[in-house]
Amino acid sequence: MNAPIKHRFSRRALLKGGALTVAFALTGLRTASAQGAAVASRILDNKQVDAFLAVNSDGTVTLYCGKVDLGQGLRIAIPQIAAEELGIGIDKIKYVEGDTALTPDQGRTSGSSGIQRGGVQIRQAAATARKALIELAAQRLNKPAGDLVAADGEVRPRAGGAGIKFAELVGGKHFDLKLDPKPLLKDPASYTIVGKPLRRPDVPGKCFGTATYVQDFTVPGVQHGRVIRPPAMGATLVSVDEDSIKKFPGVKVVRIKDFLAVVGADEWTTERAARALRAQWSDWAGLPVQEKLAETLRATPGVTEQSIVSKGTAAAPRQTPRRWAPHISGRCRATLRSVLPARWRMCVLMQQRSGRLRRACTTTR
């Protein structure tokens, strides 16, 4: 897309320039806090508390999350988890996500792991930090740690009385503390933030069209590409007539073995060139005959004759034995992919991965 949104300044330049705590969101860059920013160097080791959170001297807490919000709500859920465990209002949480220079490696964001892995790690970091804050306050207040509680961004005596703000305890400094993977966690019965249906911060931008997607973002000199697919699976690229796109200025042919694409500065011109490019592909006759599809599938090795009827009952299907695992052979997979409508193919691939198709194939016979 020829979207004119350009990055206005470099994130790394900004970091070098002295902005210390920086929030990076898809909507652009903004400094999370000018005066409250205090963490001069980021620690990215995900075994360290400092990798996940920083108590700023202005009383705010910055969270650093390696998982990214793709609409599943992490931008509110992760702050909820951390604010709850730490004992601070969620309005005091600043949030930085998915930035390799600032956030720890928490693995990929996929497979519903955002909360159950990423959230759990941040919860452990927050609980470890809370314990440390309480111990620091215990020394300052000369009271046993067990008599103190962390709430509203301060540590105070459980029985009441003056407390000490988090910022006064560690504001702007590192915890220098190993993340405890089995910390003492808050009792869920005492939760005041987790469990509340708070609003996702990304929703208004998506409803007003102001959210910037990666497709809306461009850099100077960006090139657009279009891949030219072969007419049949298994076809190889015999020849390409580069002259056939001569009339599209600035569009180049990219050929890597049987991979064919065009690249150009203007997206629409590139797209037209992709349609106009003449290429000769070899024939491939490996596809099954459509009319004999059922027979082909039945004859394909790997589709077993076993079913839940023979192996168990519908009410109590037998556990799929391990030796059933490689049920769909490469040939059967290719057959399925080739005969199914495009929209189903993705389902096939996904279900293959989850094992559902294996079961489907073995149970529908």
């Binding site: 897309m1 979207a3 004119p4 990304d202 007003f208 069209g209 102001t210 959210a211 997607y213 497709q215």
Partner: protein, 156 residues
């Protein structure tokens, strides 16, 4: 370069295009109106839906030549945070979008529906949004929000 005149979000625009078949979608995004998304490019997913002369249409299937002289509304022109369209307000209230890539098109289709049918039935909402696909699965919230925007009780 031929010049084409059209109205976009109430403003008269003259755009240059070397090709009369250039999709309106590319023209709009080239103007910086990136709320309109490029989904399938085949008119099958609805992500690029805009309102042209009062009717919802997939902008990837409308050429700049066809858009000549017409009035086009994109999500940016529908409402703003300060003055949201009832559909936008309802989408926020119901926390409708997930990834949000289809949201612009869905809101435009729904806005076009309400402009013509202020009190649609749930079936009419579903029919009007039939051309808008969502991979996240927000459909139930969409119907609820559109019904709410129309001042009708939505799904329980």
């Amino acid at each position: 370069m031929a010049k084409y005149k059209l109205r976009v979000n109430g403003k008269a625009r003259t755009v240059d295009a070397s090709d009369a078949d250039k999709p309106l979608l590319y023209v709009l995004r080239g103007l910086g109106l990136t709320a309109t998304k490029d989904g399938c490019g085949l008119g099958q997913c609805g992500a690029c839906t805009v309102i042209i002369n009062g009717s919802a249409a997939p902008s990837c299937q409308v050429t700049i030549a066809n858009a000549q002289g017409k009035s086009v509304t994109t999500l940016e022109g529908l409402g703003s945070a300060a003055r949201p369209h009832p559909i936008q307000a309802a989408f926020i209230e119901e926390q409708v979008p997930q990834c949000g890539y289809c949201t612009s098109g869905i809101i435009m289709s729904a806005a076009a529906l309400l402009a013509k049918t202020p009190k649609p039935s749930e079936d009419e909402v579903r029919a009007a949004l039939d051309g808008n696909l969502c991979r996240c699965g927000i459909h139930v919230r969409v119907v609820r929000a559109v019904m709410a925007a129309a001042g009708q009780r939505g799904l329980p």
